[in-house]
């Protein structure tokens, strides 16, 4: 025996009930994931001790501005080269022959060692130079340097 009606009385769910339901749901989730939650708390307190938590919160809240600023700044011409260099450097690392570098570094270290031991007053005359070429160690260094200069000149 109904005339058409459109009026709906919404159910008043008291706020406390809603909160209670939500809390119950969270409780169950906590209980089901106890181990993970405890570990999570540990991580949080570690982050907090390091003052990282606040920083992370701030940056997350302001992520759009932060990203905007960063990207805009990095897109300025003065950074252009640096930004492009990031991947280039990566490739560069890939091409360097580390064995060779190691040998060269060893030699460089020896040189530095000698340098430390020498006194500042010591002087070298032209003749000393010519004489020194006969010293096998110095001769070797000069030869290496000359080879390096030659290699570097190649394109």
């Amino acid at each position: 025996m109904g005339k058409p009606i459109t009026n709906i009385k919404r159910m008043d769910i008291p706020e406390e009930n809603k909160v209670e339901e939500d809390v119950q749901e969270v409780k169950e989730a906590v209980s089901a994931n106890k181990e993970s939650i405890l570990k999570g708390i540990e991580l949080l307190s570690a982050l907090d001790e390091a003052d990282a938590l606040q920083a992370a919160t701030a940056i997350t809240k302001h992520r759009k501005e932060a990203l905007g600023n960063l990207v805009k700044e990095l897109n300025k011409p003065q950074y252009s080269k640096s930004v492009e260099n990031i991947p280039e450097l990566l490739f560069l690392f890939g091409e360097i022959d580390l064995d060779e570098v190691r040998k060269a570094t060893e030699r460089l270290n020896n040189g530095l060692h000698e340098l430390q031991e020498s006194s500042e007053e010591e002087k070298t005359s032209y003749f000393d130079l010519v004489k020194a070429l006969k010293d096998p160690e110095i001769n070797r260094s000069i030869t290496l340097l000359m080879k390096f200069l030659k290699g570097m000149g190649k394109t």
Binding site: M1, G2, I5, I8, M11, K64, N75, E84, P87
Partner: protein, 983 residues
């Protein structure tokens, strides 16, 4: 001839057997050889625009997709020059497409450019990306086009021209910078685009993309346009070379899988049964992604299936059960609502008997929901008063087929319709009511020489495309069909051996045709005799005829008989049981077929077993543990009448806005007011629900699991992609709660269990199980216990005792006409972009802004006669009631015929005008037999069709993308030649 044996093709030195004439790329893809291919897509066929699939064939560099397999062909896919040519083609593409994948919403693991470049191992862009001088077109409701990302592969054009066949998109190869254009270069929103969304589906990248994806799919894509641009620049700087770019973007793409859910579902907007994945993020629908494996539709969709899902998140959704108290509905908890219903059902049953209660299932709900409803009615309450809304549309067709061929469903699949030599559509506005199926016909007609004859009052899209278009007088289809059939027999053109082997009742039937002479037919239908002879000749001169019909036939007083006449014609000409032939009553709603299949009918148990059959009754009594009623129940038309008579006291209606969609609104709503107890279950507080005592909140299809059966008798699974809104529940879950309260604990946990029960009881579905319907798999009934299904019916005879079909004699009397007072014929039907009364689609802002209202179509002649113009306001008055609306003057209707789309629930609702006339056999309302008079309220006004409605567009038909025009350009050089020149 075993030609295949001779078609040996050598690929990279290894021999393979191929099908002669097979496309070479399709063949290479079956051998496990991997070659790049961006424009090629199996669902579209070769387009030949991208040049990336170049291989060496018999020493020449060729596009693999442009070649057909020939015997002795030698193909090389790995030679250096092949690789160079492919690289050149890819470089060319990357000049047109900026790779900034990490901040691109299309970076979801399925970007075909991304994947092709990655697979190819291309490391660097050889030539810089070049922007085009065009802005992104975001004028449309649902998708946008970014010319700068467009690689001009032409897939969108191919799909628009030759798959959807709406013929809106082309590529203008003439201009300096070619781009895709809409109509004759207008914004998307102002074009003839019907928003089927298939261009966005097939676009291999982010050039045409669903707006729902924008800023939603990616983790870093929701940025201000300026910032997004900066990030694109930045991405390109940091990710130099494609290796690092892909490493980062692939990681981001897989992170997206964490939050974007892809769920297979089945569309609810018509009987075609399109299936697709719906991409959701929380409750947001990002996009609908069809799948080449979708059995009914492949990659196709229409505007409603692709974009019409906003209603799911409408604020108007019901979230709690409502009980009428005084003059308002009060929200209550489920316990209270269910107890109340159980109590009232029990009281009414005790007082008036079980037959004082009636149940109406929904043809939009699942098979399992239908099964549960009829089980509640029969087992729990004890009445066969259960029906569904297919009564309003297609029951006459089912009846016509039962009488003649024994199964009330489409004879074959949509593939068979596409394969027919001649398709006749009768009383079907196919392009708007079954758009995806219509596209299959449009494609076969456009590309493969299929003949199309359209019979309709109204010159709709299919009529304009037809080879021959006939406008028989309303309600006279039975006459011309029978006259054509008689003429065929008289000429001796009937299929005598088929009739001999497979058909009973020829003599009696032939005698019944006596009155259907060509003279009589011409007089009754208005189709000239010469034309009738021509039709007869055409039908018998081809090998395969398929007849599709819809509400223009069934919603008449002689709907069942007319459907029967079609089936008779098909039997006489031997057009059953072979691929490409048969009868196709196009089902209106997604589950019109299934809702009846699963028993929500007053005379049938699931699988069309009669309630009057004792053996069947016994089977169900044993299974359900009760005694069952053996009398046929009331159909929904009879129920409304019984309310007026006082014998039906209670109704339970689910998923059906009966007060809008049943004929004669005033009569129906008067009945609702008289009910003692009325339960309505729906998504919204519908017009019908306003009369209810209890309203139960149901869930949308995206929020539940189950199965639907489409017009092809194809059962398909839908999976749950969203959580129910509020406390809403699935239909069968609600029904189960009521049953339990009334003492029957069904104990179903999952719809699979309901299907299992139905399959164990109804032989028609013996082998149906959820396991066999996994993912995109489907089954077309009848399904044997071993899971063998039946895509094509009647291959081995008809389901009668001697396996022979029956010719069914018919008579004809004209029962409806206009008269002096009610001088106009009011036709009605669907609009492409709205569904039914509009409870769902009017809640889509994107659809609403293009088609805000239904309208009344008036012919030029009538407009002139009545002195009205576009935008006039008129009142239509029938014997049953009146409706008002706004006029559009159009060539789609002629003379004294009006057309009012049914998609309106306000004052223009067509059912204010319809009356109680019904089909004489099955009580389907004769919605299509309304004579009205017209009062002019206002002579002209604002057109009801907005300027951005597709009906105002300007189609640009052509075949495919006209790649030859690209090749003719002076700046084009075939990469194969280029490689040769460069040595």
């Amino acid at each position: 001839m075993l030609e295949r044996d001779h078609t040996v093709v050598t690929i990279n030195g290894q021999e393979y057997l191929a099908d002669p004439g097979q496309n070479l790329i399709e063949f290479i893809n079956t051998t496990g050889e991997n070659i790049p291919q961006i424009c090629y897509n199996e669902s579209l066929g070769p387009i030949e625009t991208c040049d990336t699939c170049i291989v060496q064939v018999n020493g020449e560099l060729q596009r693999a997709c442009g070649m057909k397999v020939e015997a002795g062909m030698r193909v090389q896919t790995q030679l250096p020059q092949v690789h160079m040519a492919q690289k050149e083609a890819l470089d060319k593409i990357l000049e047109n497409h900026e790779l900034y994948c990490t901040v691109c919403d299309y970076n979801n693991g399925d970007c075909e450019i991304h994947n092709t470049v990655a697979d190819f191992g291309l490391e660097h862009q050889s030539r810089p990306f070049q922007a085009k001088p065009y802005e992104t077109d975001r004028s449309g409701s649902f998708y946008r086009y970014d010319p700068n990302q467009c690689i001009l592969c032409g897939r969108c054009v191919e799909v628009c021209q030759d798959i959807e066949v709406n013929e809106t998109l082309t590529i203008d190869w003439e201009r300096q910078e070619p781009r895709v254009i809409w109509d004759n270069d207008v914004p998307i929103d102002e074009s003839s685009c019907v928003n089927c969304g298939q261009c966005a589906t097939v676009c291999p990248c982010n050039a045409i993309m669903e707006k729902g994806m924008e800023g939603e799919a990616g983790y870093m894509t929701d940025q201000e346009p300026g910032l997004l641009r900066s990030m694109i620049e930045m991405t390109k700087k940091v990710e130099t070379g494609y290796g690092p770019l892909f490493a980062v973007s692939d990681t981001e793409a897989s992170m997206r899988e964490e939050r974007i859910k892809k769920t297979k579902t089945v569309c609810t907007y018509c009987g075609v049964g399109c299936s697709f994945d719906v991409w959701t993020k929380d409750r947001k629908v990002l996009k609908v992604e069809p799948n080449a494996e979708s059995p009914a539709n492949g990659i196709a969709t229409c505007i409603k299936g692709k974009f019409g899902w906003d209603y799911v998140n409408s604020d108007d959704r019901l979230t709690k059960p409502l009980i009428r108290r005084d003059d308002a509905f009060e929200e209550v908890e489920w316990d209270e609502a269910i107890s109340y219903i159980a109590e009232r059902f029990t009281e009414l049953k005790a007082e008036h008997g079980a037959d004082a209660l009636g149940f109406i299932a929904s043809s939009k709900a699942t098979n399992e929901d239908s099964y549960a409803m009829q089980k509640l009615s029969r087992q729990v309450i004890g009445t066969n008063n259960v029906d569904n809304c297919s009564r309003y549309c297609q029951t006459p067709a089912t009846m016509g087929l039962f009488r003649t061929v024994g199964y009330g469903g489409d004879s074959g699949s949509i593939d068979d319709i596409a394969e027919a030599d001649l398709v006749m559509t009768i009383g079907s506005n196919t392009a708007e009511s079954h758009p995806v199926l219509a596209s299959r016909i449009k494609r076969s007609h456009k590309l493969f020489g299929q003949k199309l004859f359209v019979f309709d009052l109204r010159k709709h899209e299919m009529a304009t495309r037809a080879d021959h278009f006939y406008q028989p007088k309303s309600g006279t289809d039975l006459v011309w069909v029978s006259a054509v059939t008689k003429y065929i027999i008289d000429q001796g053109w009937h299929d005598q051996s088929f009739l001999q082997d497979w058909v009973n009742g020829f003599d009696e039937y032939y005698r019944s045709l006596e009155k259907f002479t060509l003279d009589y037919a011409e007089e009754m239908t208005g189709i000239p005799q010469e034309e009738l002879k021509f039709i007869a000749k055409e039908i018998t001169s081809v090998n395969k005829v398929a007849i599709c019909w819809a509400m223009g036939v069934t919603q008449h007083m002689l709907g069942s008989d007319t459907s029967t006449a079609f089936s008779n014609l098909l039997l006489i000409t031997g057009n059953y049981g072979r691929p490409g032939t048969g009868a196709y009553p196009l089902r209106g709603h997604n589950n019109v077929q299934g809702c009846s299949d699963f028993g929500s009918m007053p005379n049938f148990y699931p699988g069309y077993e009669k309630v009057t059959d004792e053996q069947v009754q016994k089977r169900y009594e044993e299974a359900w543990g009760v005694e069952l009623p053996s009398e046929i129940g009331m159909d929904n038309h009879e129920m409304i009448k019984a309310i007026h008579d006082g014998s039906l006291k209670s109704m339970y209606v689910k998923g059906e806005d009966t007060s809008i969609v049943d004929a004669n609104i005033n009569y129906v709503t008067d009945a609702f007011e008289k009910l003692d107890f009325f339960v309505v279950q729906d998504l919204f507080l519908t017009k019908t629900a306003e009369y209810a005592d209890v309203v139960l909140p149901a869930v949308a299809s995206l929020e539940k699991e189950g199965t639907f059966t489409n017009t092809e008798r194809r059962i398909q699974r839908l999976y749950q992609s969203l959580e129910p809104v509020g406390d809403a529940k699935g239909d069968w879950r609600i029904i189960q709660m009521i049953a339990k309260k009334l003492g029957f604990d069904w104990g179903y946990d999952h719809p699979a269990e309901i299907m299992e029960e139905a399959a164990s009881l109804a032989p028609l579905f013996a082998g149906v199980s959820y396991e066999r319907l996994k993912g995109f798999q489907s089954l077309q009934w009848p399904v044997d216990e071993d899971g063998t299904d039946t895509p094509l019916l009647f291959k081995d005879g008809f389901p009668f005792e001697d396996k022979k079909a029956k010719l069914y004699p018919l008579d004809y009397t004209l029962m409806y006409d206009t008269d002096e007072t009610y001088d106009l014929h009011l036709n009605n039907g669907r609009l492409l972009e709205h569904f039914h009364e509009g409870n769902m689609t009017y809640r889509s802002p994107g659809i609403q802004r293009k088609t805000p209202n239904a309208f009344i179509e008036v012919s030029h002649e009538l407009a002139e006669e009545r002195g009205i113009k576009e935008g006039a306001e008129v009142k239509l008055i029938s014997e049953a009631g009146e409706a008002t609306g706004t006029v559009t003057v159009t060539e789609r209707v002629s003379g004294n015929e009006l057309y009012l789309p049914m998609n309106n629930n306000g004052k223009s609702a067509v059912n204010y005008l319809t009356d109680n006339r019904v089909d004489k056999d099955v009580d389907t309302p004769a919605y299509k037999e309304i004579a009205v008079k017209m009062e002019v309220l206002k002579k002209k006004g604002k057109s009801p069709i907005p300027s951005n409605n597709h009906r105002r567009g300007n189609r640009q038909p052509q075949i495919s993308v006209r790649v030859e025009d690209k090749w003719k350009r002076s700046d084009y050089e075939f990469p194969g030649n280029k490689v040769k020149h460069n040595g």
